[in-house]
């Protein structure tokens, strides 16, 4: 038996699930080798699912970007040489109701991965409050409580107050956290509840069909700001994470984004750090994730990410806003 030549390439295993695929095309954009395309056929959703171009597997570097950016976990990449796998985490369940290209699915995947990798699944309780995130309980296989609009952090405190062993996190949108629930959120930071807040800021009310949110950008058109947000009628966008960071009970505040694979990988690191900080400092950790709402913004998913980068990131600047005492958790 001869050892394989070192120059011989071990091909990755790549799988595009044409049934799960919602045809957003984010994987096509993410592929550095440009070897992903839309299939000619339609799937049962009436969209062209994506696939690897014929005879291109040898070109694939198994970077996993296509799997990382897929909000629906429809792509799996296995790097057989490095024993790395990118794709749906085992804690993921259910078919997501989110629109094609919605970043919320991506965040679900990251959450599932972090909970799984930290080995805290058995003591984790999620709180999903009203907005598109309200059905989150269908997609990650842990204990959940669904909360009223804006009240997630109060519900979280109720869960953890006599259960210090539990790891409680909330998954909240901008209307929920920065609009109707601003009081609840602010006081969770003031009390220093040991909650992890995952705050999805997509600058719009998604579930109700695209109305002005507290975080809508100046000039941004929504169904209730049809000529664009202006100061006289709607006031200015709310920057919540900076406000929360000012409170003593908030020990970790960071803003991330999920518009491309590197950003998503960084966001996963932050989510992990938020949960580590929860354990270490027993006070509030808030992670704002600037994300897109293609349906609400009435943009193609790829264009929505372009808008996010061009317009949102100058107001909602990514990065660590408040580092925990003793430095970033590892």
């Amino acid at each position: 038996m001869t050892a394989p030549a070192t120059t011989e390439k071990i091909l990755p295993r790549v799988e595009f699930d044409s049934v799960e695929c919602k045809g957003c095309g984010l994987c096509i954009e993410a592929c550095p080798e440009h070897i992903v395309e839309f299939a000619q056929v339609f799937n049962h959703r009436g969209v062209h699912p994506t696939r690897l171009m014929e005879d291109t597997l040898a070109k694939c570097t198994a970077c996993g970007n296509c799997a990382v950016v897929c909000p629906d976990g429809a792509v799996t990449v296995e790097n057989l040489r490095k024993h790395l796998r990118y794709g749906k985490n085992r804690l993921r369940c259910g078919e997501m109701h989110y629109c094609p290209g919605c970043d919320e699915g991506t965040v679900h995947e990251l959450l599932a991965e972090v909970i799984d990798e930290l080995g805290i699944r058995d003591v984790t309780v999620g709180v999903a409050s009203v907005g598109c995130t309200v059905f989150a309980y269908r997609y990650i296989d842990i204990d959940w409580q669904q909360a009223a609009h804006g009240r997630a952090t109060s519900v979280a405190w109720g869960i953890e107050c006599q259960h210090p062993e539990l790891r409680v996190f909330t998954l909240q949108g901008d209307g929920d956290l920065a609009g109707i629930g601003i009081g609840e959120t602010f006081h969770a930071a003031a009390r220093g509840d040991p909650t992890v807040i995952i705050f999805l800021n997509n600058a719009i009310y998604g579930m109700t069909g695209g109305q002005l949110a507290p975080t809508t950008m100046m000039g941004q058109k929504t169904t209730t700001s049809p000529t664009g947000r202006n100061r006289q009628v709607h006031g200015y966008p709310v920057t919540m994470t900076e406000a929360l960071a000012l409170q003593q009970g908030c020990s970790f505040a960071v803003r991330a984004t999920v518009h491309d694979a590197p950003a998503i990988r960084k966001t996963k690191k932050y989510i992990r750090q938020a949960f580590l900080n929860q354990e270490k400092n027993k006070s509030l950790s808030v992670l704002e994730i600037v994300s897109s709402c293609p349906s609400g913004w009435k943009l193609e998913p790829i264009d929505a990410h372009k808008y996010l980068v061009q317009e949102m990131l100058s107001v909602y600047k990514p990065g660590v806003i408040k580092e925990p005492p003793g430095g970033m958790p590892r």
């Binding site: 959940w144 669904q146 009223a148 109720g158 107050c161 006599q162 259960h163």
Partner: protein
């Protein structure tokens, strides 16, 4: 939280000690707080509002030393949602407020009812509408028994008339909450909340309570994930859920009616009054009996379920009814409905004071005498 054996034994010992205790002088609000502690309450969340602030003040002092949670929330809305979270995590939990604050809690109460979470809510009623007054009233009867929040739910509503009942019914509220997986409401007026009387605390009764295996306490590697939830999008599924809830309400109506009858057997006129109004009417009945008037009192203790069984024996012969309330006439609707259900066409009249005004026994006696002399036309 289901106590383990050790804790249970400990608490049983404490209960025995409590039962041996003589009566102690307590304020209505404090008796509720103390009874909650003796019910094994794990957490309490509230926001200050007159005239119930004695409850959070008492619990702020006495709850944390027991290792239990006391949180003064940033609003009533926040407090009721903390109750939701804590009840969902399997805790025995309570909140208290007064009328305007209870209005703020209604959204949360509806969610709690929908998600089938056991908890106790205390409303120390004051005069309304709006900011109204801080003086006691019974103007929240409709809000208490007809839903209050959205979605057509019901919950047990208990109305004490003495400080002793404040204690007893608080403990019963905790029991009914766990027994039926429901929010329960203790409903009293501000005057009773501020009244001092002797109380003897009774031992806690946890017999026959179901385990809380639905609570979100982490899967612990031994079970499938639990979900605490009130969103059911599919109409047929929601209808089935609501039918289940309403079957439970029907069971409460069958099993949990409570009332006090006083001198009703031979009464030609029966006063129907709850809470403080019932207590005052009791004094009026005693005085009227001394003058030879055949007057009795039926005092509903459970406002939901409404005690139709208390009326059943009375409906066998013609009498007259006078409903006395500290509002413009709310429970009187349920009295009329109840008599109608019993196919009883006896005349029902109403006397009420509003805005925090408390009727006197003499005033009520006068109305009764007028009813007798004028024939009690409706």
């Amino acid at each position: 939280m289901t106590p383990d054996a050790g804790v249970g034994v400990l608490e049983a010992a404490k209960d025995a000690e409590a039962a041996a205790e003589g009566p102690v002088l307590f304020k209505g609000c404090d008796a509720i707080a103390e009874a909650a502690i003796r019910s094994g309450m794990d957490a309490y969340f509230a926001y200050p509002i007159t005239p119930q602030t004695d409850i959070p003040e008492y619990l702020a002092e006495h709850l944390p030393p027991l290792g239990k949670t006391f949180t003064q929330a940033n609003s009533e809305i926040s407090a009721i949602n903390m109750v939701y979270g804590a009840a969902g995590a399997g805790l025995r939990v309570m909140t208290s407020s007064s009328s305007p604050g209870i209005s703020l809690k209604q959204e949360g109460i509806s969610y709690i009812a929908g998600a089938e979470l056991p908890c106790v809510i205390v409303n120390v009623m004051r005069g309304g509408p709006g900011l109204g007054t801080v003086y006691g009233s019974q103007e929240d009867y409709w809000q208490s028994v007809k839903g209050g929040g959205h979605g057509g739910y019901r919950m047990p509503v208990l109305a004490p008339a003495t400080v002793q009942e404040c204690a007893d019914l608080t403990m019963l509220c905790f029991r009914l909450a766990d027994l039926y997986r429901t929010p329960t409401l203790l409903c009293l007026d501000g005057t009773l909340g501020q009244m001092w009387e002797n109380v003897r605390f009774k031992p806690r009764d946890d017999s026959g309570l179901p385990s809380k295996d639905w609570a979100t306490t982490g899967t612990r590697g031994v079970r499938k994930p639990n979900l605490v939830n009130s969103i059911i999008i599919e109409p047929l599924e929601l209808e089935a859920h609501n039918r289940m809830l309403h079957a439970r309400y029907a069971r409460m109506e069958k099993e949990e009616q409570r009332w006090e009858s006083f001198a009703t057997e031979d009464a030609d006129l029966v006063i129907v009054a709850f809470g403080l109004a019932g207590r005052i009417a009791h004094t009026a009945v005693e005085a009227l009996r001394k003058t030879g008037r055949k007057v009795g009192l039926l005092r509903p203790i459970s406002l939901f379920p409404f005690p139709i069984d208390g009326f059943r024996p009375l409906s066998k012969r013609l009498r007259r009814y006078l409903v006395v309330e500290m509002n413009a006439g709310q429970m009187v609707e349920d009295v009329k409905r109840t008599l109608f259900d019993l196919q009883c066409l006896d005349p029902v009249s109403f006397y009420g004071r509003q805005g925090g005004v408390i009727p006197t026994p003499e005033e009520i006696a006068e109305v009764v005498v007028r009813e007798f002399t004028q024939g009690g036309a409706r």
